[in-house]
Amino acid sequence: MSSIITHSAQETIELGKRLASKLRGGEVICLYGNLGAGKTTLIKGIAQGLGVKKIVTSPTFILINVYKVKRQMSNVKCLIHIDCYRIDSARDIENIGAAEYFGNPNSVVVIEWPERIKDILPKKRMEIHIAMKGEGKREISINF
């Protein structure tokens, strides 16, 4: 496990980009952190690092956003952004077909509020905890 401190949203985005360069496809990344912790910010960085052109916005309303990855030299064809903030049971995520992306070698899945669907999370997953340490400052712990 490694732990990193970032001091601004921009630094969190940079960290996301560095993280993206390590992704090979098939990863499931669980992002833990309270409202306002910066989960979407980190995902913006991951998306930029993967070469997603579209603006990454919060999928709270429609639960899942699928972004095409145009970068060559990589297996990753799409970034799946799932937000479980509004849902109650893992069945909801299965019903919208989101779980089918888990472990798919062509996609990277990032899940916000994964604690709400812990029953269906794959065993092999990356866990990232974001803790707020005062204004702008975040402690980001990554568990492979």
């Binding site: 949203a9 916005t57 309303f61 109650d88 919208i96």
Partner: protein, 370 residues
Amino acid sequence: MARIKNYELRIMEKYKKIILGIESSCDETSAAVVRVKCQMSNVKCFEILSNIVLSQIDIHKKYGGVVPEVAARSHIKNILPVIQGALDEACVSQKDIDAIAVTNGPGLITSLMVGAETAKTLAYLWQKPIVAVNHLKAHIYAAWLQEAKSYKLKAISFPVLALVVSGGHTELVFMKNEKSFKKIGQTLDDAAGEVFDKVAKILDLGYPGGPIISKYAESGNPQAFAFPRPIMDSKDFNFSFSGLKTSVLYKVQEIKRQEQKKFQVSSFKFQENIAASFQQSVVDVLVYKTIKATQQYKVKTLIMGGGVAANKLLRQTMKSEAEKNGVPCIIPEIRLCTDNAAPIAVAGYFGKPIPWQKIDVDPGLDISEN
């Protein structure tokens, strides 16, 4: 001139259309019957014969948000009675319907599918043309229903700038004519309606956040807290609300910490003041950027639609600022701003029918697609 008018009136009679609209993209099941009252080249207006909206808000309240599976099951149960109710109330039967319009995105996939599959079945069974409607465009087309209500045949002058502001979207759209949609700005993170929900949650006020926040804000002081106006001064027309949400969270945590130290129960009107200051901040940013866009794009009409357009302060501020700048501003009445099927039917009039086999839902549909 008079002769042209008569001629156009005759054409109008000939092509008189009755459209059935069906909407189920989130947690409202709705069906509406809309008649095309007038379709001259520059003036179009529509009459709502019926518009039935069945809200699931009470069902979802106890979960603090929309639960997709519950929503879909509820749509399945309600959709046929709602459609039947809309036909009955409009005093029409299936033979009178000229076309069916249905939302195919954006929204929750499980909810969208219920409406789309029902509409396809009816189109097949009744042998009627079917049009897939982009929900975001329908929020803008609600403005045409406004014109019908005043019974004045007044054209909407183009170009139009539209602000679509709801629980899932915050977008500025430029329209050079009735059928062209160009997105010129959007939220970079959370939608405006979404931050209302999340701030209501931070304040422990319940769901849905929009109406509760504005109710609390009425007795609060909008200047009590200086929350940021995120990216208000940026040169583009994008929005950002995530940082505002975080500022509110910091402030609430700080107040709670102080209370614990001093063993106070609660500061005077603390929730009301936070709600009022937060709401003011959202309204300031939305109005400022929208008005700036009307100037830069030299538009002749401003339209605002979507669930957040039901917010009183936003309606008043947008209207008065647009007036100051000499831009006519159309904001549909509140029941037409929140999700309902009447604007879906209007959008169906402007859209192109396609074979029912080709109708497919798209939860992430963009306003410039379809």
